[in-house]
């Protein structure tokens, strides 16, 4: 493969046919301004210095690369390392991005930040940086997600954010995104929209990827130190796909590293009740970019289902759409049951309670590892911790919470 991955996206945000800027006119000037500001800052040593200091002292980076020995042995195949994004401040990879975007918001002189959230991790990470910078914060969250991720709602409120339960549409992440867009159109002068995943109109997919790419940079260095070689495979869950692209990006030129993005198969791809646009969707335009979508033949976005709120989204970041088409990454799907088993396995063998999102990546590792040799290495992105999922788990396992 001779793709120069550093050349993507192009200056208009295109990854091949995907990405771009499909936004209402009112936002175009703000997006142009953000693109210009980001372009000028992304290689600015002062900005990068400030960012890496925050990541070290506030977020707690670098996160460890942990050899899950007991779990690996139970599977009887490859050695599995976990990139411990669950150990970040606020409990997931999301803060890597909100720290970066909040610094941009400050530079642009915005007084108010808004965010959409599914599982609530991005909402918490946004509320956190807003509190730290003394900015007003409004988080849009689907009404159904407000219920199933109650602990995160409480955290956001504690941090001083206003949480708006979105009752329109399917009452999940996509509707939260619509509502955040509507807010931004209305308050574009004083408001910075912190998008939580590597999707949306340019420059968001590239910018979020760049902020999350610290995951892969660290992991590459850490695995070389521990194993003296690159990993044979990477695994990460994909909703919008920010933790995945964060891990994958640094390894894209390493052709011998196999890459697996794991989508949510929900009740099963064959049932239609899932959230796996790359595995079972078609290209279209939603939320500012062209990408794979869950849609009907008329171009209406269809309802998704996943046990994990953070993966319950009908689109996916445009870079993943492109990586799929050019064959650089493989996209697979794990259903609710399998994810729950992954959740139980990691908890049991390693004493680490993963987020239900990350449990999809864990579950795929349990399938892949046994097919590999003992001297081969897999890195799984443990994108978040499972504390937020205790309500869901308690219901399923039938215990009082």
């Amino acid at each position: 493969m001779t793709v120069d991955f550093s050349k993507f996206p192009d200056e208009h945000g295109h990854f091949g046919p995907y990405g771009g800027v499909f936004a209402p006119e009112t936002l175009m000037a703000a997006l142009e301004q953000l693109t210009a500001e980001y372009q000028s800052l992304k290689n600015d040593p002062v900005f990068l210095g400030e960012l890496s200091e925050d990541l070290r002292d506030y977020v707690g980076r670098p996160t460890p690369l942990y050899y899950a020995e007991r779990w690996s042995e139970s599977l009887g195949g490859a050695k599995i390392y976990l990139k411990r994004e669950d150990l970040n401040h606020t409990g997931a990879h999301k803060v890597n991005n909100t720290i970066g975007q909040a610094l941009l918001a400050k530079r642009l002189g915005k007084k108010r930040i808004i965010a959409e959230t599914g599982a609530g991790q991005h909402g918490v990470a946004s509320a956190t940086v807003a509190a730290r910078l003394g900015l007003e914060c409004v988080v849009y969250m689907g009404a159904d997600d407000v219920v199933r991720q109650a602990p995160n709602v409480a955290r956001m409120k504690m941090l001083g954010a206003t949480v708006v339960a979105v009752e329109s549409g399917t009452r999940t992440l996509k509707d939260a995104l619509n509502e955040a867009m509507r807010d931004w159109v209305t308050n574009v002068d004083d408001t910075f929209y912190i998008i939580g995943t590597a999707a949306g109109p340019h420059p968001y997919p590239a910018m979020v990827r760049d902020f999350q790419a610290v995951i892969g940079r660290e992991a590459r260095e850490q695995v070389l130190e521990k194993e003296g070689k690159l990993p044979d495979a990477l695994i990460a869950c994909v909703g919008g796909g920010s933790n995945a692209i964060g891990l994958f990006h640094e390894f894209l030129p390493d052709e011998d590293v196999a890459i697996y993005g794991v989508e949510a198969a929900g009740h099963g791809l064959e049932t239609g009740e899932h959230a796996a646009p790359l595995c079972a969707g078609t290209p279209g335009v939603l939320h500012g970019n062209r990408t794979y979508l869950m849609q009907d033949k008329n171009g209406q976005i269809i309802g998704t289902h996943s046990i994990s709120a953070g993966l319950d989204y009908p689109g996916v970041g445009p870079e993943h759409a492109w990586l799929k088409d050019i064959g650089r990454a493989n996209y697979v799907a794990i259903n609710d049951e399998e994810a729950l088993q992954g959740f139980r396995d990691l908890t049991k063998y390693e004493g680490i309670i993963p987020a239900l999102e990350s449990s999809h990546a864990i579950a795929y590792a349990t399938k892949l590892a046994p097919t590999m040799n003992k001297d081969q290495v897999i890195i799984v992105n443990l994108s978040g911790r499972g504390d937020k999922d205790m309500n869901t788990i308690a219901q399923i396992e039938g215990f009082e919470f």
Binding site: F22, E25, T26, A29, S168, R182, V185, T186, V285, Q300
Partner: protein, 276 residues
Amino acid sequence: MSRIQKTLDALKAQGKTALVPYITAGDPNPNATVALMHLMVSKGADMLELGVPFSDPMADGPVIQKAVERALSHNVSLDDVLEYVRVFREKDDKTPIILMGYLNPIEAEGYEAFAAAASSVGVDAVLTVDMPPEESAGYLQALDKEGLDRVFLVSPTTPESRLAAVNEKGSGFAYYVSLKGVTGSKELDIADVTAQINRLRGQLSLPIGIGFGIRDGETAYRMAQLGDAVIVGSALVSLIEANAHHDLYDIEIAIGKKMTEFRTAIDRADALKGQE
């Protein structure tokens, strides 16, 4: 010359401002749309804007969101919308029709197939909220080939550099979004719109339609003094909502009354312009 240009030229020659009502196609049910289109023409509409339902209308406020949900509860598709236009054209081949919506249903159909189908049933123009000039090459080519006008939005935040693209790539008219916000929101700031329209007149050779937030005769009166066309949507759609469970007759009464309010106000503004 396109039907839109012909209409706007003729109105201009008479010193008149176009009244352009919007309804969402298929709202509150598929049987209502063609009847409401004819009714609005009989109550003084010069052009019609027909919303194509989309599941994720991110630039629309609650009123039109709910209209879209009502239409989608009947599975109204882009093909259905074109069918309404075809039936409407059996009795009216004069009133221009602008389709307004989001890109994905058009993507699903394919630009060329969509443009050919739209043109064959008598659509005159297409306004796609999330299709800015930058991404529009293939889309414009398809619309052009079928002689369809391409309406782009211009907003209070549109910088000069982008106005040039709208002027070059748009046709029919430019749609000025008179406020920062979603459809149907807030009160209009008349002074602000006045200043903005003056700015646009220097940059755009296209006629200017003004829409978003025009909820009553008084606002329409003000806007008619500034624009070549006044576009009203949420004010009408909220009446459909209020009567959604009644007979079509009740909706027609309510819409007719509101249309008369707008038409009278715009005529009043035009008469005033005539005296100057």
